[in-house]
């Protein structure tokens, strides 16, 4: 089984470079280079630049730096503080308290952005400092964020679903509809987990928050207005036909700038700081994306993902076994690849398997999004982990540990999807 030796070697080099402390993006490049040089006769360096240039200039990634910038503006102004003032009265008595803002915030923002990295940076930039100020336990702050950010890809718009839809010639609108209910269920599961954790651990944060009368709650709600306006502004630009999903990110930046100015919390310094902050974060992510693009190319040359998927094809599994095998497969592949590359590199082999097994192809799109996102919160290569490490400055090992419960919740979500496929198939079948 050449593919297993190859997998082992890739993993070894990856762990060696990453583990010894080589910068993540450069480590991915190193693994990719070694893979091509050792196993193919292709010109590694030339191909590296072709693919890196293509990914660095790709229109569908442009929303990412813009949303990061928007997050930097919100973080530096009173907006995020106000949002918490508005939410606190409502969530204060809920077990887990304001930790729920992470999940609610990600669900809201998921409707605006098409990627989990953008969801993560924008919501995280606002909520992490506020939750830290209120002494919520760090591992819950980071863990819930790592998990909830994956909603960015389930709730439309969604980059992964677009790529999946184009690859298999299925309707992107149907896929988008299919993602809504599972996305909300997953958000509900995350919130249930926070409640359960709070009750079991005897967390006192909820009780420390004040109690509010309904009148006080409503009165405080005006603090939420700016953020709600901002979300409506971006959504409105997208669904009124003024802007495409990518262009909508620019409306997010403009909206944040306007709101901050109206609130009187914008200044020259804050504007400049927000820009430089955005440059730092987006360049950090860009280097990792460059490494990931090169590694995906290396995988394409060596044929490893195809070989592994092809091997699964030869096993002649039953429907259930096939789904479980694919679950394991995408988590293994997720050791090297980002979500979109994992889909692109394997779909040609996986699609016929799915169709033969009589599995609904729209449903499978949602399945694959959850599974591929699980891979994004598992080491060694997990993009949500990298982004969180960059934002919180905690070591990756710590971040990965905080994400374990979220991984298990998503596993549960996969099982729920298998048990109740209607979650994904009902909306697309009943809406025109």
């Amino acid at each position: 089984m050449a593919q297993f030796e190859l997998t082992a070697l890739f993993l070894f080099v990856l762990f060696l470079l990453l583990g010894s402390g080589v910068w993540v993006g450069l480590a991915l490049m190193g693994v990719a280079m070694i893979g091509i040089e050792l196993f193919t006769s292709r010109p590694a360096g030339d191909a590296m630049i072709t693919t890196i240039w293509a990914s660095s200039t790709s229109w569908s990634l442009i929303a990412l730096p813009l949303f990061i910038w928007m997050g930097e503006i919100l973080f530096r102004t009173r907006l995020s503080e106000d949002m918490f003032k508005g939410l606190a009265p409502w969530m204060a008595r809920l077990p887990g308290g304001l930790l729920h803002t992470n999940i609610v915030g990600c669900t809201l923002f998921a409707a605006v952005s098409g990627s989990s990295a953008a969801t993560l940076t924008t919501v995280g930039k606002m909520s992490i400092p506020e939750l830290q100020k209120r002494n919520y336990p760090e591992h819950m702050v980071i863990g819930t964020l790592a998990g909830a950010a994956t909603l960015g890809l389930m709730i439309p718009p969604s980059l992964t679903l677009i790529v999946y839809g184009v690859s298999i010639n299925e309707s992107i609108s149907k896929l988008f509809l299919a993602g809504i209910l599972p996305g909300l269920v997953l958000a509900g599961l995350f919130m249930l987990y926070v409640v359960a954790w709070s009750l079991v651990s005897g967390d006192r944060h909820a009780r420390q928050e004040n109690t509010y009368t309904l009148k006080q709650k409503l009165a405080a709600s005006h603090f939420l207005l700016p953020v709600i306006l901002l979300v409506l502004f971006v959504l409105g630009s997208m669904y009124s036909g003024i802007a495409t999903a990518t262009e909508a990110a620019a409306f997010g930046v403009i909206g944040a700038l306007i709101l901050a100015t109206l609130q009187g919390s914008m200044s020259r310094t804050i504007f400049m700081d927000s820009l430089l902050g955005a440059v730092k974060t987006s360049s950090m992510i860009a280097l990792i994306l460059m490494g990931a693009a090169f590694l995906a190319l290396s995988m394409g040359y060596t044929g490893l993902p195809r070989a592994l998927a092809g091997w699964i094809a030869t096993l002649e599994l039953s429907r259930m076994e096939l789904l479980l095998a694919l679950l394991a497969f995408y988590i293994v592949i997720g050791c090297f690849l980002d979500g979109i590359s994992a889909v692109v590199l394997t779909i040609a082999i996986v699609e016929p398997l799915i169709r033969q097994a009589g599995i609904d192809i729209i449903w499978f799109g949602i399945f694959i999004v959850v599974v591929v996102e699980m891979a994004q919160i598992t080491p060694p290569v997990g993009f949500n982990l990298f982004v969180l490490q960059g934002m919180t400055r905690h070591p990756i090992t710590y971040v990965a540990r905080t994400a374990i419960p979220m991984f298990l919740i998503m596993l549960l979500m996969v099982l729920i999807l298998i048990a109740v496929p209607e979650l994904a198939t009902w909306l697309p079948q009943h809406m025109k």
Binding site: D46, G241, I242, I347
Partner: protein
Amino acid sequence: ETWDMPMAYPDSNYHTQNGKDFAEAVRIATGGKLDITVHGGGSLFGGADIKRAVQTGQAQIGERLLSAHQNEDPLYGIDSVPFLATSFEDSDKLWQAARPALEKRLEKDNLVLLYAVPWPGQGLYFKKAVNSKADTQGVKFRSYNAATARLAELMDMQPVQVEAAELSQALSTGVVESMISSGSTGYDSKVWEQLTHFYDVNAWLPRNYVFVNKDAWDKLDDATRNAVRGVALLAEKAGTAHARQLADWYVTQLAANGMQTGPAGEQLRKDLEAIGVTMTDEWKKAAGEEGSALLDAYQKLK
């Protein structure tokens, strides 16, 4: 030898299927001496990078939409001059006339031309009934290159640039209201979810062409090269036959999914033909003497 063959379109597309059949046939015809791995759906290199990748030996063989390269040389746009060749027969003749010149042009880019397969004719998609140029005033039209932008301009439409990944959402929210594309693309992207009318005008039949890196080609022995040439010829015939067969089927499918389909009405056809004459002249000017000679050769074959 093992070659990588990046292709831009998904595996379900008949061009990619044809490419896979070609690779399989090459393997058999050369007794396994040449083994081509097809990477469909842009999984190795995206469409825009395939020519460059093959030119520089990052892949040995690849496929791309010919007219995508017309910024480099108007010659590459010969298959996409509006209303110059509007049937499979004419498209074949145009290809016969153009092939020698294209082979020469590609050699300059370190490439060897193998075969080319047409797409079904390009038709106009709208959100409303359109009977003449008067109805297209100000309509937001998806343009993806200079020629489609010019076409929009001549129809008094507003050219709007939208990337492929965003197209379906842009159509449903109204960022774009119209486009030109083949029936197959409309079928693949389930365009009836957003648009209502398809005018089967066969404005042009664009081609995907398959090319080999010249250094890789020169390394093959004569017997292998001949085998590949022979298989390529068959692939061109098979792909073209497939395209013909599918062309009507796609339009029927658009209709079956609730779209109004049919040829353009008389006034619209006249307006389009006038635009065709203008754009053919413009292309001739851009392509210079060589272009004029090609068009003459094509007229003789007709």
